[in-house]
């Protein structure tokens, strides 16, 4: 038994355990011999196992592997987007663009890159990455036919590089065309945030030339919408390309509001117009948005409150309905309904069998019988004046 345990055993107590095991039946000994390999760590399942090569075929491992790979693929989807549509990378967003490559066990950061995901693209197309990718797939049984979905082919990379080069040229041209004298000023303003960020990055961080940071509205990986995509080429060639940040704000207020979710300019919570709406449409939309936002705010407050209230509480459905009714009545949309005189609340009577509706029905029936009795008694009770016998006799005669 002891010879099956190699020197590098993750279980330090193995040697002390083994002598005890020798006393067990021969079946257990045989089992030990079969598995008998050292403990390995499976990064996919995040556990130590001694099943050796068999582990990668177990269903639990297969599940975790597919989950892992699909997660990585979704991250790559973002990178691929920027591969097809290269856009300049602003320094503030650089920290958001990094990702962890599970095959190489390395963190790919976007330092010193002028274009979004350029480091990532370079990494994914490199030979080292391919090697580690193959090793990973062999070790964890990923399926060698899917290799290409986790790397970027050379042809694509060259295309991307060409696009980047053309973008750079365009930016340089546009920058030369306008705002030459102002570039000095705007450089300073642009450099302020850069100086702030320098502290965070350890490696050689270079301050970007104006042209790349001016290619504005460059959003981090999160914003992949087509609207953003459409806006980029417009702005890259536009006259506002070299403007000051304040102008950027005013002319590209829409983009800024898209960038920062808690921006000063306006956001969903403050009721600002969404960026895809033109300024011409603002007036029409504003009123609707304001009224809607007010509704949303008040409704969200109510929603929060009702979320706290137990939905299983007594009469919950009735309460919700009634609240809405009262809200509408307040606003005057629905005239106050005078509840009919026959309305009775849900009441369980003393001698009640069955549901409470039955008690109400019983009561209604009782009411009806009572009414009948009363009317009958009224009919029978006709008060007649007293006529004396003598007068009656006379009348009869």
């Amino acid at each position: 038994m002891a010879e099956n345990w190699r020197g590098e055993c993750s279980n330090p107590n193995a040697k002390t355990l083994v002598p005890g095991k020798q006393d067990d039946s021969s079946k257990k000994n045989k089992k030990k011999k079969e598995t008998g390999s050292q403990f390995e760590f499976c990064t996919v399942c995040n556990l130590n196992h001694d099943q050796g090569q068999r582990h990668k075929y177990f269903p639990s491992h297969k599940k975790s592997l597919s989950a892992c790979l699909s997660r990585f693929e979704s991250k790559l989807a973002d990178v691929r987007f920027f591969l097809r549509n290269p856009a300049a990378l602003r320094p503030e967003h650089a920290s958001r663009n990094r990702f962890w490559c599970i095959f190489c066990d390395v963190d790919v950061e976007e330092l010193g890159s002028s274009f979004a995901c350029s480091n990532a693209i370079n990494h994914l197309s490199s030979v080292d990455h391919l090697k580690s990718l193959k090793h990973f797939m062999w070790k964890y049984g990923g399926g060698m036919d899917r290799l290409d979905s986790f790397r970027i082919l050379d042809a694509d990379v060259t295309k991307w590089r060409k696009k980047c080069a053309t973008l750079k040229k365009e930016a340089a041209l546009s920058e030369d065309r306008c705002h030459g004298p102002l570039s000095g000023l705007s450089n300073d303003i642009h450099r302020e945030p850069n100086i702030g960020i320098v502290d965070h990055f350890e490696d050689n961080y270079t301050v970007y030339p104006l042209k790349s940071s001016i290619l504005n509205g460059v959003t981090p990986l999160q914003y992949n919408t087509n609207e953003q995509q459409i806006l980029y080429p417009e702005i890259a060639g536009g006259p506002n390309a070299g403007s000051l940040p304040t102008k950027l704000v005013s002319s590209n207020a829409s983009l800024h509001s898209a960038d920062d979710s808690n921006g000063v300019e306006g956001n969903v919570h403050s009721g600002a117009a969404p960026p895809w709406l033109d300024s011409s449409e603002h007036s029409l939309v504003d009123y609707n948005i304001k009224s809607f936002s007010v509704n949303v705010a008040s409704h969200s407050n109510k929603l929060e409150k009702s979320r706290k209230l137990n939905p299983k509480r007594v009469g919950a459905a009735w309460a919700e309905k009634r609240k809405i009714e009262m809200e509408l009545e307040k606003r005057g949309e629905i005239a106050k309904k005078e509840c009919d005189s026959g309305w009775l609340p849900n009441f369980g009577r003393v001698w009640q069998s069955g549901s409470r509706k039955e008690s109400r029905r019983e009561f209604e029936m009782e009411k009806q019988t009572l009414l009948k009795k009363e009317t009958e008694s009224e009919i029978s009770k006709e008060i007649q004046p007293y006529i004396s016998k003598r007068i009656r006799k006379d009348a009869a005669e």
């Binding site: 007594v314 009634r322 309305w343 009775l344 009441f347 003393v350």
Partner: protein
Amino acid sequence: MSYVLTTLTKKREVDSVIRDTIDKVLVLRFGRASDAECMQLDDILAKSAREVSKFATVALVDIDSEDVQVYVKYFDITLTPSSVFFFNAHHMKMDCGTADHTKWIGAFRRKQDFIDVVEANYRGAMKGKLIVNCPLPPERIPRYQLLYKDM
């Protein structure tokens, strides 16, 4: 006393109170304000109404009013004062160890008793229970005998 609490004399008023009290326990006292035990109960209700105001509303209903006789019959009110508990227009029953679970008959000994009873009702209602157990010990629950008609 009963100047603090609203006294209802018409069925419509009672209906609106029941329908408008949402997510709060509604305590409807049926009784005569001139009756001694009723006065005692009213005193306790008036003093504690503010303290339970966040989760309960208290209202007084005059039994002698004709409009309300429907409710007097519907709720089987015979002994006064009787307090009926509602939550979101649903009637809350309470098991006090007495014969009648549908209402509370008599007055409360202390303010705290009343608050405890209302709290028990509220907690049960929030959990979705239509009948709750009375938190008071038996010595503090007024005893009475129900004489049944047609039995």
